[in-house]
Amino acid sequence: MSVLVNKNTKVVVAGMTGKEGSFHAGQMIQYGTQVVAGVTPGKGGTTHLDRPIFNTMHEAVAATGADAALIFVPAPFAADSVLEAEDAGIPFITLITEGVPVNDMMRAVNKIKTNGKSILLGGNCAGIITPDECKMGIMPGHIFKKGPIGMVSRSGTLTYEVAWELTQNDLGQTTCVGIGGDPIIGTRFIDALRMFEEDPETKAVVMIGEIGGTDEEVGAAFIKEHMTKPVVSFISGRTAPPGKRMGHAGAIISGKLGTPQSKVDALLDAGAKVADTTSQVAQMVKDSLVAAGV
């Protein structure tokens, strides 16, 4: 088992004929992901990477039965592409694109929430991977390994850092979910935590947060109230000065909101373990599994 994607997931890639889309779709196919089609307006009827290209999401879904969309289109058109995928009835949409205007994202996220038909992951995220089954994103596949750990993170490269550490310590993963570093995103910590709590294969969860916003605190409240599985967390940007945006549009301490201390305190209060440095995460996960009798 896993969350959101598995070996049966059929992925349509929006922007597959572009430079980045093409490179990553190729990597995904190599990994074994079922990439069934691409969408590029104006290039319908052609093929790329041996996959059919369609002009619209609706055509792609009708022809291939795609049930997941991965979006690589440039920022000015990204939110529109998300809404097109939702309108075409695709239940799971991942937006990789970075730099999408906040108002565009706010509109798309609220529409999707109101309609309640699809789940959006991202934007500005690394995507999602269920090791050995489905890689839907830009992460290097070889650093992941199948196993019992669920992972959710705002940062792409920190996901790689910690996943590699887990893998080297023989702690494989059910699914790793990159939720993205923007202020307005689709799937949030609380959503991913809930999915991992419900997934029978996941035995422990690693949660990687950072400064900015209050989603870690909201996640901590969920852990406290509802989670039976151990959670090991790490918060980055603990020494970042307030008021400075640390690369991610969402990583900024503004006033009293988004401070690392508030996040660490909330997580500790919820019974989660909090690592001071990434190199402690694997050992903490091992200890938690032993303590939980797994």
């Binding site: 730099g99 706010m106 920190l158 690369g247």
Partner: protein, 383 residues
């Protein structure tokens, strides 16, 4: 990006929000002409994007246009320094505006509520003071109205909020119009923050945005070429401004250990590690996904523009970024720049072995983990 007060007020006026009369001037004669339009009774405000500009001597009231012109003359070219901004900023324009009689002061802002994923309009009868103080001392004096951008806002919701904020009845109708105008500005002009403090209620019954702070979502700047020229005016450090021109995510942090890596999370984490090891990070720099050798070289140059930098930490976990490309970029940067400070690199992920092979025999000290790299660079830099 933050807009200057004159840009903010022009933008608000475009959406029907009432603002006091005023224009921007770049020299004394322009200032005098504008002041004469208002009978000489004006306020002259330095247009610099820093906090505490009033205390720094950048704002003054005048009774006649000649004094306003003299003050403008003094201000242009001067560097204003405040507690919030010790490096200061040079004034190159001033706003000359009509003096407003104020009977009462209110507060309005439109912000992003990340938790709710909506806009929030904040309305208060307590204007003219820091809203943080109001929030702490009398939180009930702030009324919040959430706006879903997919739906917009209806009049009755705004009327209800203004009523709950206890804005006096004669001012309510204008207040509702002003709020609707601000929401339009936020949504149509890609603002990410609008604050009007104070909203002035004049003795003759007019509601005006007496001050205005607007900031525009940087992701949406491609829709607003009109701001290209002033895009970097808010940069607190000259290297910040240079980085913004080059499109590189760089933040100067004032320390002496230069840091660059790929991915915001990893770089943030690297600066935490440098701090843990007892070092003082000089900067945040994300080379970005899929950086090639040329870009890596540009990034090294940017970090080394800061003369305080005594050591350089490079932390790369290659995903889309290829470590051999990074290594080539580093070597060519060092070949050109005559770098004498210690450099420690931690390179992992895609093509790491090739990358390390390229760096073999160079001045770059290798490290196996981010923690080890941070400890090494701090040790070497402070030796």
């Amino acid at each position: 990006m933050k807009l200057h007060e004159y840009q903010s007020k022009d933008l608000l006026a475009k959406y029907g929000v009432a603002v006091p009369g005023g224009k921007v001037a770049e020299n004394a004669s322009e200032a005098k002409a504008i002041a004469d339009e208002f009978g000489g009774k004006v306020v002259v405000k330095a247009q610099v994007l820093m906090g505490g500009r009033g205390k720094a001597g950048g704002v003054k009231l005048f009774e006649d246009s000649d004094s306003a012109a003299t003050f403008t003359q003094e201000l242009i070219g001067k560097r204003l320094v405040s507690i919030q901004n010790p490096d200061g900023m040079v004034v190159d324009k001033v706003l000359v505006g009509e003096l407003v009689d104020i009977a009462e002061e209110y507060y309005l802002s439109v912000l992003l509520d990340r938790a709710e994923q909506k806009l929030v309009v904040m309305i208060s009868k307590e204007g003219g003071v820091e809203i943080e103080t109001v929030a702490e001392e009398t939180p009930e004096a702030i009324v919040r109205l959430h706006v879903d951008p997919a739906w917009g806002v209806d009049d009755f919701e705004v009327r209800d909020s203004v009523q709950r904020a206890k804005i006096p009845a004669p001012a309510q109708r204008q207040m509702v119009a002003m709020i609707k105008g601000l929401v339009q500005v936020y949504l149509k002009e890609d603002a990410d923050m609008i604050e009007i403090n104070p909203v002035a209620w004049t003795p003759d019954g007019k509601l005006l945005a007496a001050d205005a702070k607007v900031s525009i979502d940087e992701n949406a700047l491609y829709r607003h070429p009109e701001y290209n020229e002033t895009k970097d005016d808010g940069a607190e450090h000259e290297i910040d401004a240079e980085a913004s021109k080059l499109g590189i995510a760089y933040v100067n942090l004032g320390g002496d250990i230069g840091i660059m890596g790929n991915g915001a999370g990893l770089v943030m984490c690297s600066l935490d590690e440098v701090n843990r090891a007892g070092g003082r990070p000089a900067n945040f720099l994300d080379v970005g996904g899929g950086a090639n050798a040329e870009r890596v070289k540009t990034c090294v140059g940017l970090v080394l523009m800061d003369e305080n930098v005594k050591g350089l930490l490079i932390n790369i976990f290659g995903g889309i970024t290829r470590c051999d490309e990074v290594a080539r970029g580093l070597l060519s940067a060092f070949a050109e720049m005559n770098v004498t400070i210690p450099v420690v690199a931690r390179i992992e992920g895609t093509a790491a072995a090739e990358g390390l092979a390229i760096l073999e025999g160079s001045q770059i000290v290798g490290a196996k983990s981010m923690q080890e790299a941070a400890a090494k660079v701090v040790e070497l830099a402070y030796a």
